[in-house]
């Protein structure tokens, strides 16, 4: 079997618990992603979504298992994987241009200053911030700061973008605009994106695959939902698609009830679930297998 572009193979993460012993956030987690895929992970707080992202970014290490990207195991952070932080992570003493240039000059260390700035300006223009290059982050609105974060990530032309709830601190209007832009940019450039969210509509609009994670500790990937909506969907039309409500209901059902009671669901007679290959479901399509079937 050919290996996927990104392959998470049996990773576990444990922390020393305050009263001795160890808390297991998750263990034996398996998941694969293909090049150019946009994947959203949905789950409640504390299920270890951010830990998975940090392991993908190389900022954290799994207690067990490995992540293999393009045939190589991850060893620490890399310029091939850009992270967009929830709290934007801009350096407040640098201007917008300074922040983006910092990333550009980190990637191409021998570039002259003019070339670095030229490249940074292009990335800033991509997210529509032309004119704000000389502003400090404190002078920008939340949406603009997050745009700079996206520009910084894009500027280093990464192979993979990792986004940790990038829009959760924004108001609904700004969030919508930024989602449109990110979707446009990623589709145009064929980016591979791994994004954490707890916004169901955001996941439906952006993702090709939605990973449903159960509550921690000992969180699991319960299902992988493939998005049945057409790839050229638009924000205004998306809810008119016949598969939209089945999909949305399926995810909300999961978040409200199944994410908590998944262990009981597994204990039901006849239910078989394989850690290494969590079931792939497509709500709203007739060929979706019923949830209770098959052997390992």
């Amino acid at each position: 079997m050919a290996r996927s572009y990104i392959s998470i193979e049996g990773i576990a993460r444990r922390f020393p618990a305050p009263e001795g012993g160890r808390t297991t956030i998750f263990e034996d987690l398996w998941f694969a992603m293909e090049r150019g895929e946009f994947v959203c992970v949905i789950g409640h707080s504390g299920c270890g979504k951010t830990t998975v992202l940090n392991i993908l970014a190389g900022l954290d290490e799994p207690s067990e298992g490995a992540v293999i990207i393009d045939g190589k195991a991850i060893e620490g952070p890399s310029l091939d994987r850009a992270v967009i932080f929830q709290s934007h992570g801009l350096l407040p003493w640098r201007t917008v241009l300074g922040n983006v240039s910092y990333a550009v000059s980190s990637k191409w260390r021998d570039w002259p200053k003019a070339k670095v700035e030229d490249h940074a300006r292009k990335a800033i223009a991509t997210v529509g911030l032309t004119g704000a290059e000389m502003k400090k982050p404190a002078q920008l609105s939340g949406g603009m700061k997050q745009r700079v974060g996206i520009a910084r990530a894009l500027s280093i032309e990464p192979k993979i973008m990792l986004m940790d709830e990038p829009f959760s601190a924004l108001d609904a209007l700004t969030r919508g605009t930024l989602q449109d832009e990110v979707r446009g940019i990623c589709r145009n450039t064929g980016q591979t994106v791994f994004m954490i969210t707890h916004d169901v509509d955001e996941a439906i609009y952006l993702a090709d695959k939605i990973v449903l994670m159960t509550n921690g500790p000992d969180a699991r990937i319960a299902e992988i939902v493939t998005n049945p909506l057409p790839a050229d969907r638009s924000r205004n039309e998306v809810h008119k698609h016949p598969a939209y409500y089945p999909l949305r209901n399926h995810i909300i059902d999961f978040l409200v009830a199944r994410s908590r009671s998944f262990a009981e669901e597994l204990a039901q007679p006849g239910k078989v679930w394989n850690r290494r290959a969590p079931p792939i479901v497509t709500p709203g399509t007739p060929d979706t297998p019923p949830p209770l079937v098959r052997a390992v």
């Binding site: 970014a57 900022l59 952070p77 400090k136 982050p137």
Partner: protein, 281 residues
């Protein structure tokens, strides 16, 4: 019409100053009336001060004003080891403070970086710092004199040792509390340790480090006066002590005012520098 608060504060300051000077003037001129009869022979021998009953009269604001004018009109004369202009004496003190402070910066900032970046070193050195910090810098003076065998260098050492701790502690704290996000940005961009130190940690910790420097320079300026009283020779502290031996209270008050002014200027310079490196979040 209401004027700006700055103008009103200035007027109030001037009023307070005027009341203080007036009260001072009245208090001093009121008490000095009753001179006793002294044997003129004795008075000639011991001088006018002793002749009025051993009491040097407390100078009034006008006497002090004259003394300040006298010092300011010729601050840089040198007429022997015990007779130098007040400007020269201040320059000696400032030079010692800047030298001792400068050496302390050169030691405290790199060492503070090391302490701040390593939780192990932080814990290991913490007990030493906690013990050393509350020691009055003057307590080091005998040891310094014994080992260095040079009074001028000893006073610089005392300045060094008293400037060291606030900067060391603030640098370590500033470096240790750099936001995790910013360090993660540097990590994901594969920034090397040296570049990270100069482009992320230093700018992030700069306001805290500069605040430490501001505290240090304030303490150094406090300590230099006492140190120079002990070691003697030159400096504004020595000047104050010398004028006490001369019973010249006007000169002492002049020196006190100048010490305050120079201290304020030093503090303001550091405050400006701190503002330069402070970033709004």
């Amino acid at each position: 019409m209401t004027r700006s608060i700055g103008v009103r504060a200035l007027v109030l300051s001037l009023v307070i100053l005027a009341i203080f000077l007036a009260a001072w003037h009245v208090a001093v001129s009121g008490g000095g009336g009753g001179g006793q009869a002294v044997d003129p022979e004795y008075a000639r021998l011991v001088g006018a001060a002793a002749a009025t009953g051993g009491q040097t009269p407390m100078p009034g604001p006008i006497d002090v004003g004259k003394a300040i004018w006298k010092h300011m009109s010729d601050p840089f004369y040198v007429r022997g080891t015990n007779d130098m202009g007040i400007g020269i004496q201040l320059a000696y003190s400032l030079a010692r403070v800047l030298l001792g402070f400068g050496i302390a910066v050169a030691v405290a900032v790199p060492l503070g970086f090391l302490i701040g970046m390593s939780p192990l070193v932080y814990r290991a050195l913490d007990p030493f710092i906690q013990v050393m910090k509350p020691i009055s810098p003057l307590a080091w003076m005998p040891l310094a004199l014994y080992t260095i065998k040079d009074s001028a260098l000893s006073s610089i050492f005392v300045i060094f040792i008293c400037s060291l701790w606030p900067m060391l502690i603030n640098t370590a704290f500033g470096v240790a509390s750099v936001r995790k996000d910013w360090l993660n940005v540097a990590r994901t961009l594969e920034v090397g340790p040296v570049r990270k130190a100069f482009t992320v940690i230093l700018p992030a910790a700069a306001p805290t480090i500069l605040t430490g420097m501001r505290i240090s320079v304030g303490i150094a300026w406090l300590v230099i006066v006492a140190a120079e009283m002990l070691v003697g020779g030159t400096g504004i502290g020595y000047f104050v002590w010398n004028q006490w031996n001369n019973l010249s209270l006007t000169d002492i008050i002049t020196a006190i005012l100048l010490i305050g002014l120079v201290g304020m200027v030093l503090d303001q310079i550091l405050a400006r520098l701190t503002r330069l490196v402070t970033y709004p979040e």
